[in-house]
Each structure stands twice: as C-alpha cells, then as structure tokens.
C-alpha cells in the first residue's frame, strides 16, 4: 500500500513546489490602521515614479504596542502611492537586529533599510556597514541625529527613546517627587501579589538613569573611557539592592515582560519604561495612566538622567541605484509632517522632524507633555562602539549583585564591571 502511494505522493510534492514557485504572491493585506497617506500628498522628494523594487525593511518595532502594524501600514500606504515599490517588513528584536545585520552584511545580503535605535550606529559605522546620509537628505529638517567623524549616519523617525516614571493613578494619585517619597509610597502599596514598583531588572539601560541621579556617568570626558568603578555607581547599585531587599517594594525577579504585565494588570503601581510603551499603557489603563519624570534622588538632589536617542533610519553602505532612490522617497514619506503627526497620535512618540515638534497633538496631550518634560532631564546616548562594552559588562554584574544568594556586593559589582569593560574595549582591536 505504502509502496504504491510513494511515487504518487512524491509527484504531488514536486508539483506543489513547481506550482508555488511559479505562483505570484497576492497583494499584501491592507493594515487595519493605516497611517496618514493621502494620495494627494506626494512625498517631498518626488522626481519620477521609481523603478520596480522590493524594499526589505528590518524594524525593531514589535507587534505588542502596535509599532509593527504602524510600520506595515506606512509601507502599504507607500505601495498604494507607488505600486512599483513593494515591501518586505521584518520585525527583529533590537539586539537580534544588530547581530543579524552584521552577519547578513558579512554574507553580502543585507536588507535595504533599517528602522532601529541610535546605539547601533557605533558598531555599524566602525565596521563600515552603513552609509552617511548628509548627501541624501536635508538634515536641517530633523532633530539632532547621529553624528560621528564629521558625518551624519541616520535619519530620525522619532526622538526620545527615554525612560520615565509611569504610574497607575488609581493607586498613586500624585507621582512622587523624590526617591524618599517614591520608596515610601511604593512600600505602602506593596502587599501580597501587588507591588509598589516594578522595572526590568535585567537590563542596565533601565538602571542607568539612577547613575545620573547619583551624579555618575558611564564615560569620562573623552567619551570612550569607562567610569564604572566609582562611588556613584556603587551608590546606584546599593539603591537598586535596597529597593529590592531592604524595603522591599518590587518583585524579586522581573524582566521587561514581567514588569510590563504586572503594570498592565494593576499589580504594580509604578513602572519605569520608555516612550515606545506609552500607547500600549494608554490603551490598557485609560484615564488611570499617568506619566512623570523619574523622581529626584533625595541624597544628591539630582534628577535621574535617562539616555535619550530615538528611532532612526539607517541605510546599508552598498545600497545604490533604483533601490536607493526608492528608499530615499520612503524615508521622506515617513518623515513628512502628515505621517509624523500620525505617529504622534498613534504611537504617542515625539517626532523626529523639527516641523512636527510644535503640532497641537503634543502640546495638548498630558502624556506627551510629561514625556517631553522627562526628556529634558536626559543625556544623549553615546553612539561610540565602546558603549556596547559598557552594556555587556554592566549587565551580568548587576544581575549577579541583585541575586540574593550570589554574595556580590555593590563594590564588587562596580569593580568587576569596570574590569570587564576595559577587557572588552581592549578586545575591540
């Protein structure tokens, strides 16, 4: 029986491959919430209809907060304007995007366009994987971008990417102004499976604002020498340890998703998260959702300093010809006033074009207004390749120190992360 059917089955399989190989893919589905893309408004850089190309766009935007749907909507809207240009939008987690772009560039098959964070510019420019954009766009129309070695390497889509204090108004009517007040409020709310506070304990990016609040910074004045073994870093680590064990006001273990879920479910009263998450919380908590700058560090009287950057377009170094022309038109399309306004209202993010910074949607929205205020305390994210070493060295030491049984003291952690960062920078050669 089986023997009889094997040739038939094989034939069917081969036929299926041949048929699918010859099939033309059907048109991409239209996004449910397409961004503003009025057919009457052509992109600024319209010269002529572009040649038929497919743009492979890698984006760090995920589905959970609607970012990926927004990007897909933009791509669909652009294709509706220029049917010759089709898109393959691929979502990749931030670090995966960096690793995969490096690997695919090495293999000679990079995507056509990246939609990613600024700190990727360091490794990408060092390895010579992206091209400068000064000659391609009028950069005076955009907020400050990634400038290194006298060239601009990215086009801003949104600005900010900064962390802030998010709170549930039904539990915390007024946001705390100082860390003493913050700990007191959080402590009074922590009971059973409800916590006063939650944050992503596994990523140093989320601990970094406190370092600024204690008066420290990751680099010396030269911008490349790590300064992690300092009293300010020890104080930061001690503070994080204390709010976990001494007070305690938060779960013993929580990563990004864990903290996010607790806050959305009303099981965490306060959270530290970035501007990319605002739209999702607005939807989950409605009017109970509040935003404020992180509280001033009581012992120093200084405000925490989240790193600010934004989300950017980066263009692979070898992209040229019709594909580059189409990419240029798409970048201008995404950053025109109408689509930037649409991004502000859809994703609750601050725009990357200067013109869009003064729109009503920002000045009249309390959440965006508070987000803008929080951004004023920020410090620009270093884009040098050495920053990668700082993150990679900081992370394991911080996690080890925050694990109760590890026995790593804040002093040990600071000393170890400095040593690791120096080793890493030495290994870059």
């Amino acid at each position: 029986m089986t023997k009889k059917f094997m040739p038939v089955f094989t034939m069917i399989l081969v036929l299926a491959f041949i048929l699918t190989a010859c099939a033309t893919p059907t048109a991409a589905p239209v996004a449910t919430e397409a961004p503003a893309a009025d057919a009457t408004e052509a992109p600024v850089a319209t010269e002529a209809a572009p040649e038929p190309v497919t743009i492979v766009l890698w984006t760090k935007e995920g589905e959970a907060d609607g970012g990926l749907q927004y990007v897909q909507g933009l791509a669909d809207a652009f294709t509706a304007l220029y049917p010759n240009v089709t898109f393959e939008v691929v979502n990749k987690e931030v670090e995966t995007l960096r690793e995969d772009f490096q690997t695919s560039s090495l293999a000679g098959d990079p995507p056509s366009l990246l939609w990613t964070v600024s700190d990727h510019a360091g490794p990408f420019t060092t390895a010579g994987l992206i091209q400068p954009v000064d000659e391609l766009f009028d950069m005076s129309k955009y907020v400050e971008s990634v400038v290194m070695n006298g060239s601009t390497w990215a086009v801003p889509i949104s600005s900010g990417n900064h962390l802030m204090l998010l709170y549930n108004k039904s539990m915390v009517p007024t946001p705390p102004a100082t860390t003493d007040e913050f700990v007191e409020v959080a402590k009074s709310l922590t009971s059973g499976d409800v916590y006063g506070f939650a944050y992503n304990q596994t990523e140093p990016f989320f601990a970094n604002p406190w370092l600024g609040g204690f008066g420290g910074s990751v680099f010396a004045e030269d911008g490349v020498t790590p300064t992690l073994n300092t009293p300010e870093m020890v104080a930061t680590m001690q503070f994080l340890y204390d709010i976990k064990y001494a007070t305690p006001i938060m779960p013993l273990e929580s990563d990004y998703n864990g903290a996010d879920t607790l806050f959305k479910e009303g099981k965490a009263a306060m959270l530290i998260n970035g501007d990319w998450s605002l739209a999702g919380y607005k939807e989950a908590l409605g009017d109970n959702f509040g935003v404020a700058p992180m509280p001033e560090v009581s012992s120093t009287g200084m405000m925490p300093a989240p790193m600010t950057s934004g989300v950017y377009f980066m263009i692979p170094v070898d992209l040229a010809g019709a594909e580059l022309d189409a990419v240029k038109m798409f970048v201008e399309f995404v950053t025109n006033l109408e689509n930037q306004t649409s991004m502000v209202t859809t994703l609750a993010r601050l725009p990357g074009s200067i013109e869009a910074l003064s729109i009503d949607a920002i000045t009249s929205d309390p959440i965006l207004k508070a987000s803008s205020e929080a951004m004023t305390y920020g410090t620009p994210m270093p884009t040098v390749i050495e920053m990668r070493c700082v993150w990679d060295s900081w992370k394991p030491e911080m996690i080890s120190m925050l694990a109760s049984a590890s026995g790593t003291t804040p002093e040990d952690a600071a000393a170890n992360m400095q040593a690791a960062a120096e080793t890493c920078i030495g290994q870059l050669e």
């Binding site: 304990q201 779960p251 273990e253 929580s254 864990g258 990679d392 394991p396 996690i399 690791a420």
Partner: protein
C-alpha cells in the same frame, strides 16, 4: 501572524531552491553520464554518479565552511577590521588560553563549567534512563502507554520545550515557584541567581535527554537473551548480582556509543544553556554558548573561529580516548 500569503511566499522560496537543486543535479548527472559512461565507459561510473550529489553537498556545506573557518582563525577579523582583516598567525589560539573568552571568565573555568554540566546531565540521563528502561523491560499492563508518555519530551522540538521551561522558571508566574510556594518553600530566582540558573539548565536538559537514553538502553536490554538470566538464577544470583554481572556487561556495546553521543551532544548543547540563561550570566555559560557570544554578541569573529577549533580538538580527543579505553569498537576493528 501566519497568513496564507506568508505560507505561499515561503513555499515559493523553498520551491525555487528545490527546483534549482533538482535542476543542478540533473545537469551534473547528465555531464557525468556523457563523460563517464559514453566517453570513458568506466566500470564504476554508476556508483560514482550516485555518490556525486552527496559529495557536492558535503563539499559545499561541510568542507568549505570548515576551510573558511580555519582561514578566519588566523586573521584579526572584528568590527574594527570587518572588511579588511589581515593574517596574524596563531595569535588567536594563544589568546583563547590567555585572555578572558567572555567578559570575565577565562577558558579553563569555562571548560570546568562545561565538564560539570556534561557530567551532571549524563549521569542523570544514564541512571534515570536505565531505571526506566528496566521498569519497561518486563511484563506489565499499559506498557505502550507508559513508553509513549516517557518519549514525549523527545518528540517536542527542543527550542519550544526550552522556552516553555523558561516560562515555568519565571519568578512570579512560573509553575516551579508556584509549586514551591504551595509546598511552603521560598521561591527561587531561577533566572538571575547563578546556582539556581545552572540548576534550571540541568533540570531542563535532564528532562529532555532521558527519553533518548531510555529508548537506546531499552533496545539493548531487549537484545539480551533470557538464558543468561536463567543461568544466573540457577547459580543463585540475586537481582543486583544479575544486573551487575549480566545486564551491565552485556549492555556495554549499546551503552558506550550512547554515552559518547550523549556526552558530545550535551557538551555541545546550545539551546538549553543559551535560552535558559536569558540574563547572560557567565556562570551559566558553557563553551559553545561562550563561542556564540564571542562571535555574534562581542563580534570577535576570528577569535571565535580559533575558539571553535579548540573545542573541536577537545571533543575529538575525548571521543578517541573513550573509544580506546572502553574497547567499544573492538568488534568493528576485528
């Protein structure tokens, strides 16, 4: 979301590749036929023609990457020398032993962690696998159902199983901590506390690895003729003596290759240590995850290539020593 469009597109891409492979094979076989059968009339033309597609596949997919990797290991390729690396001789091989291979940890402590990880896992795989195989190798009701249930971990794709386990080790929402709390114990920080994380890795891999060992050992047990046990019983051997003096030695031809395979797989297991160690604790890294981080997270491409050859040398040495000392391939050589 996987829509029909996505499926069609994927099939399209796979279909084109399969057609290229099929077309290429036909062309090569035709050329060989013309050359070897029609022109040279070689008597081994047919076997050679049959072997050629596999040979080409191996050359392209195994030999070429190995040669490329060996070449890379003598260069200085990193982010700073991404497009124009130069040859630096054996420097990378020396660095593997002299510098931290990750951020803090050196080669030998990492090797120690790997050996510990392998030893713990293989011990549990063999002991529990043997116990279960012995339990299944007797008359009992519902044997098929038990066997099927015990094989399930093997049937689940490894990455899926590991990610599911990682979810179960979540401090707040994971099943393991919920159970611990219900039993009156303190919950553990499975994902961030070094010892607990190493234990979590071992638990996951032991669960995943037992079915393989159990099935192999069960096959071995079933091949032992009943006469040996009857003879041992007549001689007055008790159950333990029967196991130790009859089962154990007769299982050696089956258990030795299984243990070697299990050791090499565990030593090189990437999925479990990488995904359970979500927080990148160096205390939970083993050689292969360290290798991956060196290459793709820390961008030390040439260093990682040298590191890979060092790991390869360790495994080859282990396999040769184990095969020689156990005499498992004696029958093959004779």
């Amino acid at each position: 979301m996987i829509t029909s469009d996505v499926i069609l597109k994927s099939l399209n891409e796979v279909g084109v590749t399969v057609l290229y492979v099929l077309g290429g094979t036909v062309v090569i076989e035709f050329i060989l036929w013309l050359l070897l059968v029609r022109l040279l009339k070689w008597r081994y033309a047919m076997p050679f023609m049959l072997l050629t597609p596999a040979l080409i596949g191996l050359l392209v997919l195994v030999v070429y990457p190995l040669v490329w990797e060996a070449n890379l290991s003598f260069m200085n390729m990193s982010l700073k020398h991404f497009r124009n690396p130069i040859y630096i001789g054996f420097d990378n091989y020396i660095r593997v032993f002299k510098e931290p291979v990750l951020k803090q940890i050196y080669f030998f402590p990492l090797l120690g962690q790997t050996v510990l990880w392998t030893a713990i896992n293989i011990t549990f795989h063999v002991v529990i696998g043997m116990v279960l195989a012995l339990l299944l190798n007797r008359q009992m009701r519902g044997k098929g159902i038990y066997r099927m249930l015990l094989i399930i971990p093997w049937a689940v794709p490894q990455v899926i199983a590991v990610l599911a386990w990682r979810g179960e080790f979540h401090y707040e929402f994971g099943f393991v901590n919920i159970m611990l709390k219900a039993l009156g114990f303190q919950p553990l920080q499975w994902l961030s506390e070094p010892v607990a994380n190493f234990a979590a890795m071992c638990i996951t891999n032991i669960w995943l690895g037992i079915p393989f060992m159990m099935v192999i050992l069960l096959g071995g047990l079933q091949s032992i003729a009943g006469e040996y046990y009857e003879a041992a019983e007549i001689d007055g051997a008790n159950a333990w003596q029967r196991f130790w003096k009859v089962t154990f030695p007769l299982m050696k031809p089956v258990s030795t290759p299984a243990i070697i395979l299990g050791t090499v797989w565990t030593f090189n297991n990437f999925n479990v240590p990488f995904f359970i160690n979500q927080n990148e604790l160096e205390t939970s890294d083993i050689l292969v995850t360290g290798l991956f981080r060196a290459a793709f997270q820390y961008n030390r491409y040439s260093f990682a290539a040298a590191f890979a050859f060092v790991i390869f040398a360790i495994l080859v040495t282990y396999s040769i020593v184990y095969l020689r000392s156990s005499g498992a391939l004696k029958g093959v050589r004779d």
